[in-house]
C-alpha cells in the first residue's frame, strides 16, 4: 500500500506522456531509483511522510518535461514506408471516388475538370505504388532499421493546424461554389430550379468533390499518430 503513493506520484508526473515508450522507460527508471531512495530514508529512521517528501523534492513536472525533450528516435525508414502505404491507400480511394466525375464535364464542376482530378489521383497512386513497393521489399537490414531523431514537439501542433487550414479551404470552396452557381439567381431573386435527379447530382457534386482533399489532414493525422509505433526503445533496439 505504501509504495503506491510514490508510484502514483511518478505516474502523475508522466501523465502527459502515456503514448511514448521512451517516456515510459524513463518513468520506470526514475521510479525504481526513487523507491530505493525512499526505502533507504525509512531504514535510516525517517517517518514515511518525511521520507516521501525528501524523495520527491527534486523531481517535479517541469524537470520531467525537460528530460522528455520532444526528440524521439524512431525507425525512420519503416515509419516512412507505412506513411507511403497510407498515402497510397488514400489516393487509390480518391481515384475510385473521382471516376464518376469523369462523366461530368466542364460546367458541372465549377473550377476543376473531373477528368484531370481523376488522372491526378491515378498518377499519384502509380507513383506511390512504385515507391511503396521499393520500400516494402528492401532487403538490406541496416537500411530497413535505420534510425533518426525527430522533433515530435514541432510536428504535433501541425496536426491541428492542418485541419484548421483544411476547414477554411472547404468553407471558401463552399462559398465560392454557391456564389458562382447560384449567385445570379440569388441576386435577382429567382428561385433555384432542380429539374431532376441528374441535375440534383450536378448541383451537389461541386460541394462534395473538394472534400476529397480531406486526405491531406487525414495523412497528417496518421503521420502524427504512428510515431509512437516506430519508437526505438532499449528493448526493441535493432541495428
Amino acid at each position: 500500500m505504501k509504495g503506491n503513493q510514490l508510484a502514483r506520484h511518478v505516474d502523475h508526473l508522466f501523465s502527459q506522456y502515456r503514448g511514448s515508450i521512451q517516456a515510459q522507460e524513463m518513468k520506470e527508471e526514475i521510479l525504481s531509483n526513487l523507491e530505493e531512495k525512499m526505502s533507504d530514508y525509512i531504514q535510516q529512521g525517517m517517518s514515511y511522510g518525511e521520507a516521501f517528501d525528501r524523495t520527491i523534492e527534486h523531481i517535479d513536472m517541469s524537470a520531467v518535461e525537460e528530460l522528455i525533450d520532444g526528440n524521439q528516435r524512431i525507425y525512420i525508414n519503416r515509419y516512412i514506408t507505412e506513411l507511403v502505404q497510407t498515402a497510397l491507400i488514400y489516393c487509390l480511394i480518391a481515384w475510385i471516388l473521382t471516376i464518376p466525375l469523369k462523366v461530368m464535364l466542364g460546367s458541372a464542376l465549377v473550377m476543376f475538370d473531373g477528368m484531370i482530378l481523376n488522372k491526378i489521383f491515378m498518377s499519384l497512386s502509380a507513383v506511390l505504388g512504385v515507391t511503396y513497393a521499393a520500400m516494402a521489399f528492401r532487403k538490406n537490414e541496416q537500411v530497413k532499421n535505420m534510425k533518426a531523431v525527430i522533433d515530435v514537439k514541432s510536428i504535433l501542433p501541425w496536426k491541428r493546424r492542418v485541419w484548421q487550414i483544411w476547414g477554411v479551404f472547404i468553407i471558401v470552396m463552399f462559398v465560392t461554389n454557391t456564389a458562382i452557381s447560384y449567385g445570379s439567381n440569388i441576386w435577382f431573386g429567382r428561385s433555384i430550379q432542380i429539374t431532376g435527379p441528374y441535375a440534383l447530382a450536378q448541383s451537389i457534386i461541386p460541394y462534395l468533390y473538394p472534400m476529397i482533399s480531406i486526405i491531406i489532414p487525414l495523412l497528417m493525422q496518421r503521420a502524427c499518430n504512428i510515431i509512437g509505433k516506430y519508437e526505438v526503445s532499449t528493448d526493441n533496439e535493432k541495428s
Binding site: 520506470e28 527508471e29 526514475i30 531509483n33 526513487l34 523507491e35 526505502s39 532499449t234 528493448d235
Partner: protein, 118 residues
C-alpha cells in the same frame, strides 16, 4: 570541507566527467551513482535527480555510455549504465583538461595576498 563554500554550479559544470568517472570502475545505476558521488565528495555533495538524468541522457546520446535493463525491483526494472570505449577516452581527456585548468585557475585567481596562495 566547509559546507557553505560549495558552489554546486561549479561541480555541475563537470558532472558529465564526474559520472563517467564513477562508471570507469564498474557499471552502475541512477540512485547508486548519486550515492557514490555523495560518498566520494566526502558526504557533502548531493547530486539531484534532474541533473543526473539529463547528464545520463547526454552521455548516452553521444555513445559515451550505453544502458541496459537489470533486475526487477520495487518500482520496476533498474537501468544500468556502462561506459563505452569512447567514453573512457573522453574521460581521460576531460580529466587531463581539468588538471590543466585547475592549475591555471589556481594561479590566476590569487590576488597577491600571500595567505591565499596555494
Amino acid at each position: 570541507m566547509d559546507d557553505q563554500h560549495i558552489n554546486s554550479d561549479l561541480i555541475r559544470g563537470n558532472i558529465d566527467t564526474i559520472i563517467l568517472g564513477v562508471l570507469m570502475n564498474e557499471d552502475n545505476y541512477g540512485y547508486s551513482i548519486i550515492k557514490e558521488i555523495y560518498r566520494k565528495s566526502g558526504d557533502v555533495f548531493e547530486l539531484k535527480e534532474p541533473t543526473l538524468y539529463s547528464s545520463l541522457r547526454r552521455l548516452e546520446a553521444q555513445y559515451w555510455v550505453e544502458s541496459y535493463w537489470g533486475e526487477q525491483t520495487q518500482g520496476g526494472r533498474r537501468k544500468y549504465y556502462r561506459i563505452t570505449t569512447l567514453g573512457r577516452e573522453i574521460y581521460d581527456n576531460n580529466f587531463k583538461e581539468w588538471q590543466v585548468a585547475k592549475q591555471i585557475i589556481d594561479r590566476l585567481i590569487v590576488s597577491g595576498d600571500e595567505e591565499r596562495e596555494l
